[in-house]
Point group: D2
Chain length 348, copies 4
């Protein structure tokens, strides 16, 4: 921690700080400049944070110099992690395709979407049974009925399932069906939910908050990790900016930045980022090229009838091109598309 003193700070102000720091077990190094004095603190940052130094006389600014997260930080865990979901890896050597319908609507639609996903190279099935919707008048998902449909489709296709949980209450229920729990962008700072999934014993996909900084995202991951669960995959899904031509602005830079700060895998959601079907393939290519460990994509057999986010789902006609992209791009990054050969049987 570094303390910058204002130009009006007195010698007494400086001594007070040195005193309070040393009382709390730290050391303070004073550098006197012509205009300003700066004080470097060495010791336990949690204890310094409790001192409210910013409020002390003569202090102009306080700057933090170490990371506010530990368990998910790469500083203490230099090797990048691989997370396994029902045996399927998401990590630095592969690119994993997760695909499926935005919302589970019927058994037929879910099965068709899963088959589309598989045809394109997906090894994990996405599908929402609990849907957080901005409008209370919009379709909110089938709930447990949707989870049962997903489990049936897993049975038929062999694809492990990724599905969202929106309420701490439902974590146990959702975890009893799902292979991976998804935390959506509106819940990235729903700390009660983060703690609940941290204890659920299943891998978690944590979307970045709509206006969350990369640092806040990693702090939210730390909430999950603190409860003993380090099987976390970060998912960039576009951030809110002033641009209105796209639903969100996909922040591809977040992938290398987060991979450098944290050992956790990072994937991209090109469907929700742009909110437009014509952007999904270009953004998928960009995602793989920038170094994402996977992508998660909406597909729908009949998007014109979709109850949720139809305009952004890929359709049958797009699959051939998606499959080509998934096959041809990863090798240029020294990776392979995750396929059945990567999956390891999960002990019952």
């Amino acid at each position: 921690m570094v303390i910058v003193m204002g130009s009006e700070a007195t010698q007494d102000d400086i001594e007070s700080i040195v005193g309070i720091v040393s009382t709390s077990g730290g050391e303070a190094f004073v550098s006197r400049g012509v205009n300003r004095t700066i004080i470097g603190l060495v010791g336990d940052i949690e204890r310094f944070a409790a001192l409210n130094i910013r409020g002390m006389s003569g202090v102009a600014d306080v700057m933090r110099v170490s990371m506010p997260y530990k368990l998910v930080s790469r500083e203490n865990h230099p090797e990048r992690s691989t997370v396994r979901v029902g045996g399927v890896p998401i990590g630095p050597d592969t690119v994993t395709l997760i695909a499926g319908p935005c919302a589970v609507e019927t058994p037929q639609q879910t099965l068709e979407a899963a088959e589309m996903a598989k045809a394109a190279g997906a090894t994990l099935l996405r599908g929402g049974a609990f849907k957080p919707r901005t409008s209370p008048y919009a379709f909110q998902g089938l709930g447990e009925e949707g989870l049962r449909i997903l489990a049936d489709v897993r049975e038929k296709t062999g694809l492990p399932i990724v599905t969202e949980v929106v309420d701490a209450h439902d974590v146990e229920l959702v975890a009893s069906y799902a292979d991976m729990l998804q935390i959506g962008t509106r819940n990235t700072q729903n700390f009660a939910l983060l703690q609940a999934v941290g204890k659920a014993g299943k891998p978690v996909m944590l979307k970045r908050g709509m206006s969350g900084t990369i640092e806040e995202w990693l702090m939210s991951a730390e909430y999950i990790a603190q409860r003993g669960n380090l099987d976390i995959v970060l998912c960039e899904r576009g951030i809110r900016t002033f641009e209105t031509a796209t639903r969100n602005t996909l922040d591809v830079s977040a992938v290398p930045v987060a991979q450098r700060l944290s050992h956790l895998p990072v994937i991209i959601d090109p469907s929700h980022s742009g909110g437009r079907r014509d952007l999904v393939l270009p953004l998928t290519r960009a995602a793989i090229a920038v170094g994402a460990d996977g992508v998660i994509i909406d597909v729908h057999p009949h998007p014109e009838q979709a109850l949720c986010d139809g305009p952004q789902a890929l359709v049958n006609g797009d699959l051939r091109e998606l499959a080509r992209v998934m096959r041809q791009f990863p090798p240029l990054l020294g990776r392979t598309l995750t396929d059945a050969t990567h999956a390891v049987p999960v002990p019952a």
Copy 2:
């Protein structure tokens, strides 16, 4: 709803839309221009929304023309509402001061802060027992112990209490102590929580999401209203922008805009907006001047020891000026500061 056809749209494309709209019980009015054709839809917007018209052939854009919220809309309820909290009004004729510590730490600190609040003209006491914190390593609040302290201080000072709830699970518990339930900025789209407070039988203060549009904020209020609770007060608390000199950017325009769109009262939180003590008084003046129905302010007897947001709390030396502002500004807007004479006894 208005449909804008692309320049390449065919006569068949137009007829398909007219057909599908009429099948779902609506009417479509076609205006053919030189470059573009536009189609106006008249009928039940919820049914149109389900049609996925945006995905149909030839469609360039679909624009919504009516409000997506109903119960909280001013269109159907032209008179602005007054919400009573433990008998104290928040509404168009008054300016209500809510003040207290950011977090409840000890009985002594809470009582002193409540007395400071009262001295400045507050008629409601704020104080957090459950604190949502970005870092899992930060102080998370005293929980039920904090609620008991608040209830004691209410007993001693007569100030009804406003306190945050962060988990749907805890709503019943918090509602058993609180006079008003607060939903924080990270939970504005935690729909499970919104629905829970909608059923709790207590007034709700709904903060705007850190990056929420005014429309999304009103949609979140609609979630609460839908469960039968219209005692909702909207609270603007600063939005996230590129500017880093302040913690958030207080959006004062949101007050008149939201008051025009909705009949609900709108207040401002000048403490969390700026995140700096030296901005609290200027922003409080701006809040009253722009037409807010109240303000909610952090005060702390010893901010240098505060466990949460110490740097933004007003201290004893600021109270005289706060009291002056609260007394002198409202009359210029034809309002009075809410005081004991406004409170009506609440039936037991």
Copy 3:
């Protein structure tokens, strides 16, 4: 300047930095922590900036601790400045109303608008002869003909004039008519223009960039000041955010923040901020209440015929209320509305 070393930094890395700093005439203070070492630099910041320390081995971050502007900084000039425009003061003791049409269209319209302005309490007349417009197909202003109209209206009403200049080429021409040169939001970082107005011998009103930080705004002011002109008034006019209900988001906090960092006067433009007539009066009240040294407002005798920004102009029916606000609010801040008695004759 503070250098934060990465956790992998070696002793050699640290010594290299100490060496290079001392070679360039500065001093480096090293604070060794458990996880990180920080180095405080004391000396000439411009020379350190040229060292590219950020690129050196082992460096994790470099933080600047002193202000990058000098002439406009309050650190070296604690007393707040008053700028006089044709004798009319803008400064800490008064609130100055500048009003007039967005664009000069005809002599008649300009004169009527000036009379409206005066009736509301304005002591300076605004009006654009050169208009920067996003679309090349929109009305671009009358040019020199507009300046002549403004000069005529000044003759008739006694109001000094504030008008925009958009091209370094035109500065001399515009300065030969105007009492104050305005730099618009799209030109806040047009450095050639800033330097030209810095030499023009007339006061300058510098609008904040649409997405400019307060620091960048002050750096732009420094460009003007560097050429010998310290008669600069800063004007906050709303920033670009994700919210679409208003044209821009008025950042009222920028007023106290900029007044604390700089000695220059700071005013607010409530017309262009909101872009809606119904917001102008509430935002004007907020502007005065937050401590602005003045406001600049669009008025138009017939806004439905305006060639530019008609929807945001105040009309005759609003003037009585504007006049009331301008009279009643300043005294609550210990100020008075600038009126004829404040103007001092300007030597010919």
Copy 4:
């Protein structure tokens, strides 16, 4: 254009609008709904814009449905354009690498950087002689001396040059040396400058404004096109958002969006977007993958001595990987890296 009437609009309000539209030579189609009436306008949009319909009684909203730009629009020019710079193409069949130093500092440094650029596959040389800098105390470029150095290096390497112009005054001078004129992000709405380069007879690279929407960017291109110059290349260089981990947020979606709206080529600047050397290669890969028609990259032989933006320049050790990316990625998009065989001799 579509007019949405408020729920309180009267029959008279509607008839007034129909009347005024028909007087100005257009047609108005009225669609009456249960809650709202909408009016579709057909005719000359420029004339409607002048009517200030938004200010008329009963009007709730006015929505534009056609594009505000014409010459650069793809609607009237479906085939994507190729722009030639000194004979080198930038367009839909190729990926063009433009590289060189951020600022021209010395003949030696510029020549070395040009040779680095060429080794990596560049066919155009970038380099700044006039530098717009946020701080008046930062290095502002060598001016004409820098242009002479660039011309010498062109002579030696055969690479045509791309260089920035920051003042309308200097356009003729810069155009006498340069093969392509660059408009920087701070000048995207410097309309005087846009008009000047529109008449200069040289291709133009137009960077997107730091906080400019895609629509505004195309409007700025329209300013250039209006003066008779359609040899315009759009350059996405990152936008300003709340995220501080990167200097700007690269908006890769802007590439397919702008390519769909306009026939002009679109390239990406991965150096200024991220502002960090470690992000340049990942963002370059993403740029090509998303479909950019080229990239423009900073390289520097000795970045630790760079006078401008050293921390983001690629160094010698990065060139091999850059060359590999430039060679291997374009074929996956059916493109080739622009090389000497694409250049056509330019008539003297």
